[in-house]
């Protein structure tokens, strides 16, 4: 199952990250994190940025490490899977940078 796990690693990380940021968003709104300032922003945004940033770093690591030792079609599919995860995380979670938070 090693190969399957590698091919699925990128999208799996996206699913985890998406859930984590979505959950942080709901929890933060509920606990009033928007009112607590951290550095140049509020705790709510900070928490989501940190989660997202760490996730993107991990995604980058997957793109680099996962295809090792594979050739041909096996390699191709792993590379594609890793990039799918990375692009999905960048694109679907970029609203944490900009949008207003709790309605």
């Amino acid at each position: 199952m090693g190969w399957v796990a590698r091919a699925l690693a990128g999208p799996t990380l996206w699913a985890v990250l998406f859930s984590v940021v979505y959950a942080l968003h709901g929890t933060g709104c509920n606990l009033g994190w928007t009112d607590r300032s951290v550095l140049f922003t509020d705790l709510h945004h900070a928490a989501m940025w940190v989660a997202w940033g760490l996730g993107l770093v991990l995604h980058g690591a997957l793109v680099v490490t996962m295809p090792k030792g594979q050739e041909g079609r096996r390699r191709w599919i792993i590379v594609a899977g890793a990039w799918i995860g990375l692009v999905s995380s960048v694109f679907t979670l970029f609203p944490v940078i900009a949008t207003s938070t709790c309605f």
Partner: protein, 852 residues
């Protein structure tokens, strides 16, 4: 596919004791094909007459039954659609009253989703997979039959409710509070919740079975990266079903418990939230679109290259696209809820994800177009339906991207525009490809060739009728006509559009009727088809037409990778020729590489599945009729019948290995640990874990979002928490006992550990009983209700784990385990660990709620 041998030539023994062998397998000596056929048919055929109907477990029979039954439900759903169109044809629509109209549109949606689309794809998967992957049957034949009878019984109840005027009438999405006791006092909503859940048992059964079959029942040395694309598509589908259905099952259970026992999950006044239903429903409902689309796309990826006389373009890209789709489609459910008042940030997440999912879809579309461009397209009947797919689905995808944009969505929400979009996606993305699939595989199903002309006429009627009906509904929707209304006296401007839609709708139904007629004519009067009429390369055509009960006289190996192997396979030159032991045998391989591991002996004809589904049905029936005190008897009956399933597995003696090829001997599954059943248990637990995760999502969601929190102070006393801790401790001891029982299975002392395990399960259940007694009144607040569900979840799993421990114990007493035989112990161990893990998490959650 001819270089399937490239991956590894190692030989030896895997860590768990199963044998692997080198890739280059010598061929068996040829035999007389007729002799092989007689021997195999005796073992694999259904019983004659009506007994065959109740006892068949053969994937071919069950698959065809699924498809035939789903077409009957499709016809019923179609008639309901025509009633809707007749009602809407004019402004006043005096044809149906509002009450009946509500039942009819609800039933149309419910039937098409749950009784047509999903069973149709299950049927196609069951019938086709073993053929296309080179196996004799699915991994769990009895499970197929169980799924079929659950579907037949549940579906019949739902449809019959229409005759008695108690059909569901709250829309196929069953939104709360519309569907709660206060607003839907009758039994109508219960019919939906119980009937659909019953049918869903068959979907989960099919999902487990399809997953395991694809991973482990392929031809020898067919690696995952080279299996036919249909395998990838159905693997994606079945995994999505394993993860997509549990949220809906959980939602249905919660809503039914609220209706039956007044536990307030969706009641705002007591800490619930109707939006929880919407989240659980669409957590299922959006992936459902792709669950339906993927098998259809698989059929397209199979048919297009064959009828374009070329090979598919971009195999790797398509596999990657499937992986992307499977994951991404779980991140979009909120786009069905853009107008319910969701924070801006969440709207943005889900809008972005919805737009992004168009990319993997487009990858596939371009691969198909490129394939046709490369080859020489033959416009035979299946290809016409493929063209119908392109014309329809692409447009549905474009309106989908429009609807993914929040501002447009707010304008078009709940109008006929959405109805039009969803029909373009579902008819374009599922019905057209399925019609292509049926016409394509029909010669293999019935052994006959179709009658010229009829099919083409049916196609054009369907295509013109469809676009005439639904293209106009985009316009009707943009003019502001809402969905689900039965009259529109104040809006004359919608009338001519609706009237025209209705007329084309009738043309469309005439087309479907003609299609059915064409199929029946082919079955009855077509001339005999020759072998492999489309000159396809895949293994499903490496067998006589119509396909025999056992598919292959000998199983394809590295030397027989494609349809050209038809004669050698029939002569027994492949693997595992004939049925020398008089057993239903098929080859089991290692999931990724396809190296042969062992030979599985599959179940033969039995009435156990129909009895089991009747037992499960008695539980649902008692709930539906409101005899709640009778329902536990249904559960008891189910347990008693389910016990029998295990009784005919396993073996009391060591069996000699089977000769698969001249120099390849593999053990029968009685002697290996990593059996199909164990893989199936893992797949089932994936679904189970999703159910549990959905429950945790519910706890988190209500805590964070629902008004009416924090909950009133809980009356949990110290003894209750201690009992909870004691229960978890007993489960942990049980997990240890399961390990020791497996390690000592060959020693006489081993049965002590199975006894300890059984005792610990009983102890843990007693402790859970103490916890249940000490909980707050579950009707008081949603938090208390959720705690009740959490304990119920643990109790249900405790009963199963306890029964598996007891089964392991009896296996030991009866000599069904030994140095090389494992009995039920590995399954028990898995379940015990799952029970322990979920219970420990539950306890931690409750403690956190108390402390925070």
């Amino acid at each position: 596919m001819t270089d399937a041998t490239h991956s590894g030539t190692a030989s030896g023994v895997l860590p768990d004791g199963t044998a692997i062998d080198r890739a280059d397998i010598a061929t068996n000596p040829p035999q007389r094909a007729l002799h092989l056929h007689r021997e195999l048919d005796r073992v694999w055929a259904d019983l004659p007459g009506w007994r065959g109907f109740f006892t068949s477990v053969n994937h071919g029979t069950i698959g065809l039954r699924f498809m035939a039954t789903s077409f009957v439900f499709f016809a019923i759903g179609g008639v309901l659609a025509m009633l809707i169109r007749a009602q809407l044809a004019t402004r006043e629509g005096a044809f149906l009253d509002t009450d009946l109209y509500n039942q009819i549109f609800t039933m149309h949606g419910t039937i098409m989703m749950f009784l047509f689309a999903i069973p149709m794809l299950e049927g196609l998967g069951l019938w086709l997979l073993p053929k296309i992957l080179g196996a004799r049957d699915m991994a769990f034949p009895r499970l197929s039959a169980l799924g079929y009878f659950c579907y037949l019984f549940g579906g019949s109840v739902i449809v019959l409710s229409l005759l008695f005027g108690v059909a569901p009438d709250d829309g196929w999405f069953m939104y709360t509070p519309l569907s709660d006791r206060t607003h839907s006092p009758g039994v109508n909503a219960d019919v939906w919740l119980l009937g659909v859940t019953f049918v869903e048992i068959s979907a989960m059964a099919a999902a487990v079975e399809i997953t395991v079959t694809i991973l482990r029942c392929r031809a020898a040395h067919m690696p995952l990266t080279r299996m036919p694309l249909m395998g990838w598509y159905l693997l994606g589908t079945s995994v999505m079903m394993l993860v997509g259905f549990p949220p809906l099952i959980l939602g249905s259970i919660l809503l039914e418990v609220q209706r039956a026992f007044d536990w307030p999950f969706f009641d705002v006044a007591r800490g619930g939230d109707p939006l929880l239903w919407q989240h659980l429903f669409w957590l299922f409902g959006h992936p459902e679109v792709y669950i339906i689309f993927l098998p259809a796309a698989g059929a397209l990826s199979t048919i297009i290259p064959v009828l374009s006389r070329t090979t598919i373009l971009g195999y790797g890209a398509i596999v990657a696209a499937i992986i992307g789709l499977v994951f991404l489609s779980f991140g979009l459910w909120v786009h069905h809820m853009f107008t319910v008042g969701i924070p801006h940030m969440a709207l943005a997440f889900f809008s972005a994800a919805s737009a992004l999912v168009a990319v993997p879809t487009a990858v596939q579309i371009f691969a198909w177009i490129g394939t046709m461009w490369d080859g020489k397209v033959q416009m035979r009947l299946p290809m016409l339906y493929v063209m119908g797919f392109f014309a329809t689905f692409v447009m549905g995808g474009l309106t989908g991207v429009m609807l993914a944009m929040v501002p447009f969505n707010w304008q078009a929400h709940d109008t006929a525009f959405v109805t039009a979009h969803l029909h373009y996606v579902l008819i374009g993305g599922f019905v057209f490809p399925m019609l292509a699939a049926v016409t394509y595989w029909m010669p293999l199903i019935c052994g006959r060739w179709r009658i010229r002309g009829l099919g083409e006429a049916a196609f054009w009627l369907i295509l013109i009728g469809f676009h005439g009906t639904f293209f106009l509904m985009h316009l009707t929707g943009l003019l502001g006509m809402p969905r689900r209304i039965d009259v529109y006296p104040g809006n004359p401007e919608w009338e001519w559009l609706n009237l025209t839609s209705s007329v084309f709708g009738m043309i469309q139904s005439a087309g479907f009727a003609l299609f059915a007629f064409d199929i029946i004519m082919q079955w009855l009067f077509g001339r005999r088809s020759w072998r492999n009429p489309w000159k396809a390369p895949t293994l499903d055509w490496a067998m006589p037409v119509p396909s025999p009960s056992y598919n292959f006289a000998s199983l394809p190996g590295p030397r027989q990778p494609d349809a050209d192997a038809i004669l050698p396979l029939a002569r027994g030159e492949g693997l595992l020729p004939g049925a020398p032991r008089g057993l239903r045998e098929t080859l089991v391989v290692e999931p990724a590489s396809g190296r042969p591991q062992h030979v599985a002996v599959l179940a033969t004809n039995t009435a156990l599945p129909v009895l089991t589904s009747a037992a499960i049905g008695s539980f649902f029936g008692a709930m539906l009729l409101g005899f709640y005190w009778l329902a536990p008897l249904g559960i008891l009956a189910t347990i008693i019948v389910a016990w029998r399933w295990g009784a005919i597995m396993g073996s009391t003696e060591d069996r000699a290995p089977a000769q698969v090829a001249p120099d390849l001997h593999l053990p029968l599954h009685f002697q290996v640990r990593n059996t199909l059943a164990l893989t199936g248990a893992v797949a089932l637990l994936v679904g189970d874990a999703t159910l549990y995760a959905s429950l945790l999502f519910g706890v988190g969601f209500l805590t964070v979002v629902a008004p009416g929190w924090p909950a009133p102070p809980s009356g949990l006393e110290m003894p209750v928490l201690v009992a909870g801790l004691a229960a978890v401790a007993a489960m942990a001891v049980g997990s240890v006992a399961a390990r020791l029982a497996e390690a000592n299975r060959a020693r006489p002392s081993g049965h002590l550990w199975t006894l300890v395990g059984t005792g610990m399960a009983v102890l843990a259940l007693v402790m859970l009983g103490v916890v249940a007694m000490g909980l707050d009144d579950p009707t008081r607040h949603a938090r208390d209700a959720l705690r009740g569900v959490v304990v119920g979840f643990a109790v249900a799993h405790g009963v199963i784990a306890g029964l598996l421990a007891l089964r392991s114990h009896l296996d030991h007493r009866q000599g069904r385990v030994g140095a090389n035989r494992y009995g039920a112990i590995p399954g028990w161990r898995l379940f015990q660990d799952f029970w322990l893990a979920t219970s420990a998490i539950s306890l931690a959650v409750v403690l956190a709620q108390e402390v925070l």
